[in-house]
């Protein structure tokens, strides 16, 4: 164990402290101070990482620590981070921080809500710092189960159905994954389940042909790969605000990150051969998700389908298997995480006031709720790729990277995927026009009050992050870039 485990320790200590909390103030204090601590710690680790790299440390993973856990199965508790993990950890800390402030007035059972919320963050943080297949898988599953209770108890709409659907589909994904990782371990003949060790070995081709689809689909379920995306709209629409934020913002990234780190990295030959199947599927995700968003009338469903489309783009870019596209994929994970969290936070805040999420029942909110209205426009612009905001940087990099693949198949797919940008503009502008401008639909909406201070903290933090990523993309792309090299080298072998 080294200092990276503090990422898991802080939420754990928060859980312990929450058990003793007596009233809402104490609960909020614990949640807020814990999430601030996490944010500071992430900044610190980023700083350490950057200085270490600047000092010329070229190891694939930095700050590695390895403790034997279950010796008979060669299971180690091993942690380590590279630039991609840093990017994901930053994203997680921002979303956890803003999520806490977005659920400042959660009701009922605030204590239980934050307990499960912390367990969820343990899973997410643990996943991003692990480099051992078993620990990774364990953290992945830890992140799944709190979702059921969080959606089931605090959700809205047909929450019980949505919670059950989400949990079972994601468990289905993890079932595929479990066969996949056990297969990887036994076929590689490695002496540990450590990803870096397994990458040194060669998994027989015949095994790769069935292990690659298993692992890719297993992670793909979480990354909303068509046709396994159906949990996502229902789940996101029913979840409480902070959970939608964390789930769409971070948890769906577990899928992309895992597909990249495990499926692509460890089984490059099969990835090369079978990419076309999944490229078609992700292409469908991208276009179909965008079209579905156009016809929805519920704000959360619109954003959930747009997430399917954007997360599809992440997997799409990973499958292109060149450095530029993959850089774009990681940027897209960051960008989409921030954007979608901002959307869900705003939708939650608007819903908390108007008690409706149907765009037909809202109008003219810009005059009544100027802060939320302006923020919604910013989120929308980021989503449709306005230069200067994060969405542009990410999507641009992805499409430039994809276009480098010169054959007709890849070109055609890239062009049709790029069409999703136009469709995105359609549904974003439609929503903005409908709910923010025009006549006020419901006279009761006239007396609504604008965002409170805790809501402002949450929204402003996310907007700052989006603008920062959009205007200073090189810093983060350099961070990602060097960490991509080993994976790309493996693929080119």
């Amino acid at each position: 164990m080294n200092f990276l485990s503090i990422f898991v320790l802080i939420p754990f200590l928060m859980m312990v402290a929450l058990l003793f909390a007596k009233n809402r103030n104490q609960i909020n204090f614990i949640a807020a101070s814990g999430s601030i601590l996490l944010l500071i710690f992430t900044g610190l680790v980023t700083y350490l990482f950057v200085t270490e790299r600047a000092a010329g440390n070229v190891a694939e993973m930095l700050f590695r620590a390895d403790t034997v856990w279950y010796a008979p199965f060669n299971i180690h508790y091993s942690v380590g981070i590279d630039g991609i993990s840093i990017a994901m950890l930053l994203l997680t800390s921002i979303i956890v921080f803003t999520g806490v402030f977005a659920s400042w007035r959660i009701d009922p059972l605030p204590k239980e809500f934050f307990l499960w919320f912390c367990l969820l963050s343990i899973g997410v943080y643990g996943f991003f710092i692990s480099i051992d297949l078993f620990t990774m898988f364990m953290y992945y599953e830890i992140a799944l189960i709190p979702m059921y209770l969080l959606i089931g108890i605090w959700g809205t709409g047909k929450k019980e159905y949505a919670a059950m659907k989400l949990t079972l589909m994601l468990m289905g994904g993890s079932a595929l994954l479990m066969v996949g990782i056990l297969g990887i371990y036994y076929f590689s003949g490695a002496q540990s389940m450590n990803i870096l060790d397994i990458a040194q070995k060669h998994i027989p081709l015949s095994a790769q042909y069935f292990l690659f689809p298993l692992t890719f689909m297993g992670f793909g379920v979480l990354g909303a790969l068509f046709p396994f995306h159906t949990w996502s709209p229902d789940g996101h629409a029913s979840a409480p605000t902070a959970v939608s934020m964390l789930h769409a913002g971070v948890l769906m990234k577990l899928g992309g990150y895992g597909a990249f780190r495990v499926a692509m990295y460890l089984m490059p030959e099969a990835a090369h051969e079978m990419a076309w199947i999944f490229l078609i599927l992700t292409g469908i995700s991208v276009v179909y998700g965008a079209f579905s968003a156009v016809v929805q009338t519920d704000l959360k469903y619109i954003n959930a389908y747009s997430s399917v489309s954007h997360c599809g783009l992440v997997l799409f870019a990973i499958l292109m298997q060149n450095e530029t596209a993959m850089t774009g994929a990681i940027m897209q994970m960051l960008s989409h995480g921030l954007m979608t969290a901002l959307f869900f936070a705003l939708i939650g805040m608007i819903y908390g006031r108007t008690h409706t999420r149907l765009i037909t029942e809202m109008g003219g909110l810009m005059k009544i709720l100027p802060f939320l209205g302006v923020s919604y426009v910013i989120a929308g612009l980021a989503s449709l790729g306005l230069p200067g905001l994060s969405g542009f940087v990410a999507e641009m990099t992805i499409f430039v990277g994809s276009f480098q693949e010169v054959d007709t198949f890849h070109r055609a797919l890239t062009i049709s995927a790029a069409a999703s940008i136009v469709i995105t503009a359609v549904y974003i502008l439609r929503v903005v026009g409908k709910i923010l401008y025009g006549k006020v639909q419901n006279p009761h909406h006239e007396d609504l009050s604008d965002a409170t201070w805790w809501e402002r903290i949450s929204v402003v933090t996310l907007i700052i992050a989006i603008v920062a990523l959009g205007s200073l993309p090189l810093w983060i792309s350099n961070l990602i870039h060097e960490s991509l090299t080993p994976v790309v080298n493996n693929l080119m072998r």
């Binding site: 856990w69 199965f73 830890i142 189960i145 209770l149 929450k159 468990m171 036994y186």
Partner: protein, 473 residues
């Protein structure tokens, strides 16, 4: 067999001494002294557990009729601890009006079945094995019918004894075929004498029926739901954990030791049985409303998972099997403990009655949820680790498709476990079960179970201990 080697059986001897002491106490103590009967019984039994928890080196007594391997100490300790938890959970129920005069019998009968299981597990000869399995079955039927005034309990007792006797009859027929084919019943001789001829195969299948019945695997499971439902809840938990755990271990050792030459044949048989047990158990569990029937079907599918350790036949399979039994035992005992408390206080047993339980009894609901998540194999609970290890052991031997089927079934099982969690946490109800104050013994038992569910997985030392003495083909 001389006196010194006789003393080597001290597991069995100390249990026997305990049984005799309790029997005499129960017979001669007056009403005032009987008040201390339960605490004394629990105390003595804990001492017995502690005395016999250190593994020794392997030995054989009586020409190989009784065989000891160090792993047996672990298995016996697991069974002892499980029994101890059952005693703690039964404490309050036994002091109730209807069962207070029979509390002595309860301890006597339970410990007798345990003694039978000891002999069954240590047997190195089919005769001792048969005596053991019968000693374990017949008092068990009495226990199932313990609430004799209750129609369902009496019916369950009759069902259990009739089907158990039928199963042992078939098993005995198998043993006689083995004797006919080879002329010996010693496990040591049989290992070389059995070569896999048609008659021997028939004998193996007949013999296995008796054990498969006790483990309640499909297609020998039909007694399970009725007996589990009818028996007093504490007996049900004993039946589902202790009785099942010992039988699984014996199945593994005998298949390896005696029928090692027919490994492909019994693997093929077990393959089918595992697929059937897991699937049938899961699919039937979905429809159950009564929690005891629900856990009966869940335990059928759990037994299927445990058999994944048997089918792998390796040392890793053996240790992950014992580990699985340990984890499954604590989880199931916790679940049954909660069900028993609620049944004692409100006579309610249906999933619907648990609606809104979290608002009135938060601690019981949390224990129940932990137990169910552990059974479903969700981290950080111990069930995740035991499932991972047993799947790992099976995959190591190349059973990819089988493990995949098992994994698909864990999704189904998660669905029905979540139904209970949903009732307790998500659904609100106006007539939720009123807050319950449970007695000290019960609290202790639930705390032990919960701590075990949380700790056994995260700390690897327990598995590593078990793993030292695993053996396979």
């Amino acid at each position: 067999m001389n006196y010194a080697s006789f003393l080597q059986l001290h597991d069995e001897l100390s249990l026997l001494a305990l049984i005799v002491i309790l029997l005499i106490y129960d017979t001669f103590a007056n009403e005032a002294k009987m008040r201390y009967f339960q605490p004394i019984a629990i105390l003595l039994f804990s001492i017995h557990t502690l005395l016999n928890c250190v593994p020794r080196t392997s030995f054989e007594v009586a020409g190989g009729m009784y065989q000891y391997v160090p792993m047996l100490t672990y298995v016996k300790t697991i069974l002892n601890v499980g029994t101890l938890i059952v005693f703690l959970q039964a404490h309050h129920w036994l002091n109730g009006a209807s069962s207070i005069i029979r509390r002595g019998e309860f301890y006597f009968l339970t410990l007798s079945t345990l003694l039978g299981m000891y002999f069954m597990m240590s047997a190195g000869h089919f005769l001792l094995f048969f005596i053991g399995i019968e000693t374990a079955s017949i008092p068990m039927a009495t226990l199932v019918a313990f609430n004799k005034s209750n129609h369902k309990s009496a019916e369950a007792g009759a069902k259990y004894i009739l089907s158990a006797v039928f199963a042992s009859g078939i098993s005995l027929f198998g043993m006689s075929l083995i004797y006919g084919a080879t002329g010996t019943l010693y496990f040591n001789d049989l290992a070389t004498a059995l070569t896999g001829g048609p008659l021997q195969l028939l004998a193996m299948v007949f013999f296995a029926v008796g054990l498969l019945f006790k483990i309640s695997l499909v297609p020998f499971h039909l007694w399970t739901p009725d007996v589990y439902e009818g028996a007093p809840t504490n007996i049900t938990s004993y039946l589902s954990v202790i009785s099942k755990g010992s039988a699984v271990f014996v199945l593994f050792t005998i298949l390896i030791k005696v029928f090692g030459s027919m490994v492909h044949e019994w693997q093929a048989v077990l393959y089918g049985i595992i697929v059937l047990s897991i699937t049938v158990g899961n699919i039937f569990a979905i429809r159950q409303q009564n929690l005891k029937r629900f856990l009966a079907f869940s335990s059928i599918s759990q037994a299927g998972y445990i058999l994944l350790g048997v089918i792998s036949g390796s040392a890793m399979g053996m240790s992950s099997l014992v580990y699985y039994v340990l984890v499954y035992g604590f989880s199931n005992l916790a679940a049954f403990g909660v069900i028993a408390i609620i049944e004692n206080h409100s006579q309610k047993l249906n999933i619907k009655d648990y609606n809104g339980l979290y608002r009135t009894n938060p601690k019981l609901s949390v224990v129940m949820m932990f137990a169910l998540f552990s059974l479903a194999g969700i981290p950080p609970f111990a069930g995740f680790f035991s499932k991972f290890f047993i799947f790992s052991a099976a995959i190591q031997q190349g059973f990819y498709v089988l493990v995949f089927i098992a994994l698909v079934n864990t999704i189904i099982s998660l669905y029905y476990y979540l139904l209970v969690v949903k009732a307790m946490f998500l659904t609100n109800s106006d007539d939720a079960i009123a807050p319950i104050r449970s007695d000290l013994a019960l609290k202790v038992s639930l705390v032990i179970c919960t701590a075990a569910i949380l700790v056994i997985g995260l700390f690897s030392s327990i598995y590593n201990q078990i793993n030292v003495f695993g053996f396979g083909m």
